[in-house]
Amino acid sequence: MRRDLGGVRKDLNLIDVGKGTAKGERILKLKKQFRRIPKAAALIILLLLVCAIFSPLIAPHDPIKQNLANALKPPFWQKGGSMGNILGTDNLGRDILSRIIYGARISVIVGFAGVLFSGILGTFLGVIAGYFGGKIDAVIMRLTDIMLSLPYILIAIAIIGAIGPGLTNIIIVLGITQWVGYTRIIRFEAMSLSKSEFIEMAVISGTRWSRILLVHILPNVLNSAVVLGTLDVGKMIIFEAALSFLGLGVKPPTASWGGMLADGRIYLTFAWWLATFPGIAIAITVLGGNLLGDWLRDELDPRHQLKA
C-alpha cells in the first residue's frame, strides 16, 4: 500500500521505510488499529447519525405532510410508483423514505437514552451488589428476580397509563424495565474485582469505599457495561416497536420506525413497503449495534489481545 505522507517517497513500501523508526512504528500501530475497526458497524452508525442529525437536509419530503390522494403508492420500481416517492407512500400519503430518515431521530434518542438510563441504573446496582455483597446483594438480586417476572407490557401500560404517552415517558419505561440485563453481569464482575489483591490492599490501606468504587471498580466494569450497552441499542428500538403495537408509542404523527412497523403490519400482504422498509432500517441498526458491541468486546477483553 502506498500512501502519501508528505515528503515520504511514494515508490517505497511504507513498512520497509517505517521499520526501525519511532514515527514509523506509531504509524504502523495506527494502521493496525484502523484495520481492526469494524468498517460495517462504523458505516451503519455513521449513516444513522447522519440521518438523525441532518434529516431536514436529506429527506426529500416533509415526513408528516399528508396527501390522501397519493396514499399507498408503491416504491418506484413497481407499477404505480414514481421517483417522487422512491420508497412509496403510506396510507396517509406520507413519503416513506422521509419518514425513515426522520425516524432515525427517534431511534437514536430511544436507543441511546434508553441504554443510558437502564445502563447507568443497572451498572450502579450491579456494582453495589457485587462490592458489598451480603444483604445488599441479596436485596438487589431479588429485585432483579421480581423485575424479570413482571411482564414488560403490564409495566408499560401501567406506567404510561399513569404518566401519559410520549417519548420521555417511553424512555422511562425502557429504563425501568431493562436495567436488569446489566446488573447480573456487572455484579459478577464487581464481585471478582473485589476479591482481587489490589482492592484488598486498598481496603486495608484505609481507602474509603466510595473512592474504591468510583476509582477502581467502576472503570473496570465500564468495559462490560459499554459492550452490553451497544448490544442493547437494538433491543431498545425493538421494544419501542412493541409499545407502538399497543398504541403506547410516540405521539402521532411523529415518524418512528417502531410506529411505522406497527401501523404497517395490517398492510403486509397488500402494501408491503409500509412495514418492510422500517423493518429493514431496524434490522440494519441492530446489526450495526451488535457488530460494534462484538468488536468492543473482543477489543477490550485482555485474553483476546494476545491473539491480535
Partner: protein, 305 residues
C-alpha cells in the same frame, strides 16, 4: 451449603410475595375494570353493584389482605371477564404453550448449536462472519413479518401446512419456526461466545499441545465445560418463550399463555393478570435458584461474604 440453600429459599418466597404485591398495585393503577365489564348504557346502580360484587369498593389495603390470603390458599379468584377460575384459565393454556415452546426450542437448538460451535471453532473465517451476520439478521426480523411470510409461502402458495390453529406436528411447525428464528439466532451467538471463552482456557491449549486430535479436544473438553452454560441459556430461552410468544400466538391463532395474558391486561382482568404473573414469577425464581445453587457449588469465585 445447606444454610445457603435455606437462605435462598426464604428469599425466593419473599420475591414471589413481592411480585404478588407489586402486581396487585399495578393492576389497581391500570384503572377501574368495571367500565370495561359493562356496556356504556349501564346505569350507575349496575356499576355500583358490580363494583361491590367484585370487592373493588373496599379500601385498597383490605383488598390486598383478602387477595393475599386467598392466594396463599391457591385461590386466584374468578376471571372478571370469563367467569371461570383464573388459574384454570391459565393452566388450560399451558399444554399449548409448552408444546410450542418445546418444538421451537428443539428447532433452535438443532440450528443454533452446530452453528455456534462451528463459528467458534472457525473463528474469524468467512463461515464465522457470514454465520454470525445471519444470526444477527435472524434476531432483527420482526416475528410478525416472519410469521406472515411463512404462512404466505408454505400454507397459501405451497399448501404444505395449515395457516393457523392448534393441532399436531403439521400445525405447530410454522409457529415454531417463527419463534425459532429469533431464538436460534440468539442461542447461536451465545453459544459461540461461551465456547470461545472455553477455547482460550489453558487446559484446552495444554490438550492441544499434548497432541490430542482437534475433534477430541472439542468433544471432550470444550463441550463438556460449556454444557452447563448452554443448558442455562436454553433453559432461560424456554422460559422467555413461554411468556413471550404473544405475537406468534396472535398470528397463528395458537391458544397459548401469551395471548391470554395480553387479553387479560387489555381487558383489565385482574385475577388472570395476577395468576399469570405469579406463575411466571415462580417459574423464574425456581430456575434462578437452581442455577445459583449449581454455580455456587461449582464455582469457588462466587462465595458468600
Amino acid at each position: 451449603m445447606g444454610a445457603y440453600i435455606v437462605r435462598r429459599l426464604l428469599q425466593s418466597i419473599i420475591v414471589i410475595f413481592g411480585v404478588i404485591i407489586i402486581t396487585f398495585v399495578i393492576s389497581r393503577v391500570l384503572g377501574d375494570p368495571v367500565t370495561l365489564l359493562l356496556p356504556p348504557e349501564a346505569t350507575p346502580e349496575q356499576r355500583a353493584y358490580l363494583t361491590r360484587d367484585l370487592g373493588l369498593d373496599r379500601p385498597l389495603y383490605i383488598q390486598l389482605v383478602v387477595y393475599v390470603g386467598k392466594v396463599l390458599k391457591g385461590d386466584f379468584g374468578q376471571s372478571f371477564r370469563h367467569q371461570e377460575p383464573a388459574m384454570k384459565l391459565l393452566l388450560d393454556r399451558v399444554p399449548a404453550s409448552l408444546y410450542l415452546s418445546l418444538i421451537a426450542t428443539l428447532i433452535s437448538v438443532c440450528i443454533a448449536l452446530p452453528l455456534g460451535i462451528i463459528s467458534a471453532i472457525k473463528r474469524g473465517t468467512i463461515f464465522d462472519q457470514v454465520g454470525m451476520t445471519l444470526a444477527l439478521l435472524g434476531q432483527s426480523i420482526p416475528a410478525f413479518w416472519a410469521g406472515i411470510m411463512l404462512i404466505l409461502l408454505f400454507a397459501v402458495q405451497l399448501g404444505w401446512f395449515p395457516p393457523s390453529g392448534y393441532g399436531g406436528l403439521k400445525h405447530v411447525i410454522l409457529p415454531a419456526l417463527t419463534l425459532a428464528l429469533f431464538f436460534s439466532a440468539a442461542t447461536a451467538r451465545l453459544t459461540r461466545s461461551s465456547i470461545l471463552d472455553v477455547l482460550d482456557m489453558d487446559y484446552v491449549r495444554y490438550a492441544r499441545l499434548k497432541g490430542v486430535p482437534e475433534f477430541v479436544v472439542i468433544m471432550r473438553h470444550v463441550l463438556r465445560n460449556t454444557f452447563i452454560t448452554i443448558l442455562n441459556i436454553v433453559a432461560l430461552q424456554l422460559g422467555l418463550l413461554l411468556g413471550g410468544a404473544v405475537i406468534t400466538e396472535f398470528i397463528f391463532s395458537w391458544p397459548g399463555i401469551g395471548r391470554l395474558s395480553l387479553d387479560a391486561i387489555y381487558n383489565r382482568d385482574y385475577p388472570v393478570i395476577q395468576a399469570t404473573v405469579v406463575v411466571a414469577a415462580s417459574f423464574f425464581v425456581v430456575i434462578n435458584l437452581l442455577v445459583d445453587i449449581i454455580y455456587s457449588a461449582t464455582d469457588p469465585r462466587v462465595s458468600r461474604k
